[in-house]
């Protein structure tokens, strides 16, 4: 059995991205000086080209399985992959100035982000437990390395090592779960599993499923597998943290959806209970633990844990509306996080990064535009209408109520009230305290552009909410079409 080039058309973007990464790697090795900056921009170009290719080859309507049913493409995967590609491109652009200033600008950085993105795309398109695992490993391995990219800093190395050890443990659990599922069902293929598994699955399958969910929960840093998140977010270089908070979360969440909906679609009753617990735990932890944080990167880490909890509400509803609410939530979360981190990256004083919340004091007086944008992101994360974050929360709570998960919805609302406290505290610091010392102003045009675009999205989301909802509905429709 061979493959012709047109048969594997849905995988062209992945193939292109892999070739681009390898080509740029070779180019980077042979370029003498200034390789980092030009390779970075070329990588951004490659990501954009991959995105365009992705839109060109998207199969209309149903799902297309290729490579002996190891790889799947449909509207859902295309939607998610485009978001991931965008987040990765922004991640590279955000790192440019930082890497230069911190003297860690090396051409391998964008290459590793490209390869991580490739891994994420493979995860999203996985149609088999093995391809899921390989994609996940490709992504994780690249992320371990870039977490430790600032290798002269003890904190960064520690972040990389911590992430690696715990990530390896999570991969082990995922593999163990996969092996149980294979042992008890006789297949690793999602289509086959969906056929074989029915509501009264054996205990072995359930145990395997729980292990797989543990592995995935680790990757989205949901409670109780969140321990690594604050340390890694704090230790890793800030643009890397921004990247971690965006693209990999999106990919892992999409994988979570496609695994639970696809092969384990008949086991809703079983995985729903687990998900509800994970969601409640993440929301509460994200709400309460962040209150005491003074480091803004740690604070955003807990915020992302909480956000994953809200997104999981939609998934645990187990309905199409719920899944599409997750996609909406994640898209909005992506933009808000990127915007917030673009502000954090501007927090420099006398050429050095500062990371404390109190360093933002009086920002409204010294840099009113940036303070306004940050306030916008914080209000949006707190879920204040009519900003984008409100809609994200609105759709997931709506899905939960429709699925009669009232308690979950109530806890969600309460947790978001708690979370609003610390988001508003940042706004308070910026607007109602006297400035200590001015932050540096020469941050480069890239970051302000990203902030502005993200701010515009958050502010005007209400105007184009309808087409986004339609797109996610279409994506979920193609995912569940079988």
């Amino acid at each position: 059995m061979g493959f012709t080039f047109t048969e594997i058309m849905p995988a062209w973007p992945e193939i292109f991205l892999a070739c681009a990464a390898m080509g740029l790697l070779v180019l980077g090795v042979f370029m003498k000086t200034g390789a980092a900056r030009s390779i970075s921009w070329l990588s951004v170009l490659a990501l954009v080209a991959t995105g365009i290719l992705e839109i060109v080859v998207v199969p209309d309507g149903g799902r297309v399985h290729i490579f002996n049913q190891l790889f799947v493409a449909d509207v859902f995967t295309t939607f998610v992959k485009c978001l991931i590609l965008g987040a990765s491109a922004v991640g590279i652009i955000m790192s440019l100035g930082y890497n230069d200033r911190e003297d860690i600008a090396r051409f391998e950085f964008p290459i590793l982000i490209l390869l991580a993105t490739l891994g994420m795309m493979m995860m999203v398109s996985a149609a088999d437990l093995i391809s899921l695992y390989v994609g996940l490993e490709l992504q994780s391995l690249s992320l371990y390395v870039i977490a430790a990219f600032r290798r002269d800093s003890v904190k960064s190395s520690e972040a990389g090592l911590k992430y690696f050890v715990l990530g390896a443990l999570a991969s082990g659990m995922l593999l163990y779960g996969s092996s149980m599922i294979y042992g008890f069902s006789g297949s690793t293929n999602f289509l086959q599993l969906a056929k074989v598994l029915d509501a009264d699955a054996s205990a072995g399958i359930i145990v395997g499923l729980v292990f797989v969910m543990v592995g995935l929960a680790f990757k989205i840093s949901a409670f109780p597998f969140h321990m690594w998140t604050p340390d890694v977010y704090e230790g890793a270089p800030t643009p890397v943290t921004a990247f971690f908070a965006a693209a990999p979360k999106m990919a892992a969440m999409a994988l979570f959806i496609s695994v639970l909906v696809g092969p384990f679609g008949n086991l809703v009753a079983q995985w729903q209970q687990v998900l509800v617990l994970i969601a409640i735990g993440s929301m509460l932890l994200g709400g309460f633990a962040a209150i005491t944080q003074s480091n803004i990167k740690r604070l955003l880490a807990y915020s992302s844990i909480g956000n994953m909890g809200y997104a999981l509400i939609g998934l645990s509803a187990g309905t199409k509306d719920g899944y599409s609410a997750v996609l909406i939530y994640m898209s909005i979360y992506l933009v808000m996080t990127v915007g917030a981190f673009a502000v954090v990256l501007c927090m420099r004083r006398e050429g050095r990064m500062v990371e404390e919340v109190k360093d933002l004091a009086g920002l409204s007086k010294t840099q009113p535009a940036m303070a306004a944008l940050m306030a916008l992101f914080m209000f949006s994360m707190a879920g204040i209408p009519p900003l984008a974050g409100f809609f994200g929360k609105f759709y997931v709570f709506l899905a939960a109520i429709e699925a009669k998960l009232y308690i979950l919805a109530i806890i969600g609302v309460l947790a978001s009230v708690v979370a609003a406290y610390y988001y508003l505290r940042i706004v308070m610091t910026m607007y109602f305290t006297e400035p200590v010392e001015d932050l540096d102003r020469n941050v480069g045009p890239e970051l302000s552009t990203i902030q502005a675009i993200a701010g515009a999205f958050v502010l005007f989301f209400i105007l184009f909410a309808e087409p986004v909802v339609q797109m996610t509905n279409q994506a979920i429709a193609s995912l569940t079409s079988g």
Binding site: F3, I111, L112, L118, Y144, G183, S187
Partner: protein
């Protein structure tokens, strides 16, 4: 058959006891050497199952390359292993619990209390298609057709591992004078030797 059974039990017994020795032996170098013994016996078991290709690859990759580097590192490092062992008693209960859980699972599986699905999917199909033939050839056929995607993806994973190792450890030193072999061999005596007429008693 008797010989085969004997060989199996010999391999299995040595494998398990060497595995135990890997964990309990005091000297880390001995641990690595016992690990190598484990690999050998596992390879022996593979041969007995008729998977000679896997057996050889196990020896070449794990014993011939991976374990050499292990041994290399363990010999070079001066780790205080008594210090490492201090936590042993503390973590023993957790380890025991996990071990017992796994054991119970294995027993449940073997006893057949839970029905196990039949193997399907590409492997089973491929084996059914080619009942005879060398398993080297069969593995090759599978890897380059049915599992082509995974094969390539695994290649990318290894590439990332390589880039990562280089990024995290490679340091470019300034002022290193590199040998240029082409330059050295292209050198002619006319460029580098000068005949000087030295007058006696004067020097240069």
């Amino acid at each position: 058959m008797v010989v085969q059974a004997l060989a199996f039990y010999a391999f299995a017994a040595v494998l398990i006891s060497a595995g135990i020795m890997v964990v309990v032996s005091k000297n880390p170098v001995h641990s690595v050497l016992f690990l190598i013994l484990c690999f050998f016996n596992a390879a022996g078991l593979f041969v007995m199952m008729g998977a000679e290709f896997l057996a050889m690859i196990l020896v070449i990759v794990y014993v011939g390359a991976v374990a050499v580097l292990f041994l290399f590192v363990v010999m070079m490092l001066d780790v205080n292993f008594t210090e490492l062992r201090e936590g042993f008693a503390r973590y023993l209960p957790i380890g025991l619990v996990i071990g017992v859980v796994l054991l119970i699972e294995l027993i449940v599986l073997v006893s057949g209390a839970i029905p196990i699905g039949k193997a399907s999917g590409p492997v089973a199909k491929a084996i059914a298609k080619q009942p005879s033939g060398h398993n080297t050839e069969m593995i090759g056929r599978l890897l380059y057709t049915d599992y082509f995607y995974l094969f390539q993806a695994a290649g990318m994973v290894l590439l990332v591992a390589m880039i990562g190792a280089i990024v995290l450890t490679h340091r470019r030193r300034d002022g290193v004078r590199r040998q240029s072999i082409a330059k050295q061999t292209a050198r002619k005596s006319s460029e580098s030797i000068r005949v000087v007429d030295v007058k006696p008693g004067e020097g240069l």
